[in-house]
Amino acid sequence: MCLAIPGQVETIDVHGHMATVDVLGVKRQVNVSLLKEQGLSIGDWVLIHVGFAMSKISADQAKEQIQLLEMLGEASEAMNEVRGYAFSSEDVRSREGYHGPQTS
């Protein structure tokens, strides 16, 4: 819950509410509406908490955060969390590596 997971923005919807974010190769929808003032654009990096992007960070900071999660031994937990976001699309449940409500 308190994990801050870095991801890179790939697409943003027209309302600026949801974005497709790449987290170490895994693509997920996250809510980005809290970062409207920061002017989020494609290629930006964000820190994600429980499915919501909470802050915009630099690429270097994103790299640091990934290394920190690895050093803390929480990288796999972070990946499970990101894979678990089920609100993105209908077919999420059938995807490989999904560890969300149905299977755990």
């Binding site: 819950m1 308190c2 809510n31 802050s55």
Partner: protein, 369 residues
Amino acid sequence: MRYVDEFRNPQLIEKASRELHAIVEPDRVYRFMEVCGGHTFSIFRFGIQHLLPPNIELIHGPGCPVCVLPMGRMDDGLHLADEPDVIFTAFGDVMRIPGSRGTPLELKAKGRDIRMVYSPLDALRLAQKEPERKVVFFAIGFETTAPSTALTLIKARELEVKNFFVLSNHVLILPAMRAILESPDMRIDGFLGPGHVSTVIGVRPYEFVAKHYGRPVVVAGFEPLDLLQSLIMLVKQVNAGSARVENQYSRVVPWEGNERALAAMAEVFEVRPFFEWRGLGFISQSALKIKHEFAPWDAEVHFTLAGLRVTDPKAAQCGEVLKGVLKPHQCKLFGRECTPERPVGALMVSSEGACAAYYQYTWQGAAGE
């Protein structure tokens, strides 16, 4: 110096550690509290204490939301799962919190419909998919997660989802800090301010700690170097007799916080008159209740909650550990009756709790040497 080789920037760490040793005044003791459970975990995982002069003492604060949730509140929530039409949802770390009748995981094994979600939005979506069932989201967390719950409730209203309910256990960090500062046995010289909570609330709200209580606050990042730099900033302030709020983690934390997140919280939540914290007791104005405008989605309005109070075993000394009066291993139950596998007290429940982190990285390590 354990772990020092695995740091990304070992030279900088050693330099910071040397600087700390050089600036501390040998005849005084510096007691600093890290408020955030993420910091506690980082401090133990990296063995930060080994990089510090012996007269800097780190006190592990109340910032682990899983740890401070009272058992009665967990029981109230799990009671809802007894109703056959209810799906109880919560984050993964809630699944291991013991209630009187067991953890959510154990009750799930006994046939209750209890599901782990990674985001409150997942719980809302589940409600849309299962319109015949009532989906309850057991919300916990500080200001880091409260905006997410708020935005999910706003979304539920917008989509007119009628079978989604939130049981709010959201708590606020500042009243907990104030309660600790008001405690008569308080012995803290300064605070490492929480990193992620501050991305939401900003840095300004800590000013009362400096102004009214004369204690410095440095909002800190989570890397070993962040922690050491923040401690250097605290020591310099204490040596100079000053008490100011500083932001070491400015690369992520804006001074003003996140206005949209604060606005969403203000739209959905109001402050409760008081709320119970495990280990600290009742703290006034320390938690968030769902506002009347969102009553149709408030589990406390829709369901009848027993309002259970389960007191922690008297022998558990969580409160003393939280206030820094005792070290984790000085509690009578530590490592005997109370272990991470079978936690008795709050601080043993999550890896971000002081006792669990101490048990895993310091005590077991020492026992093995």
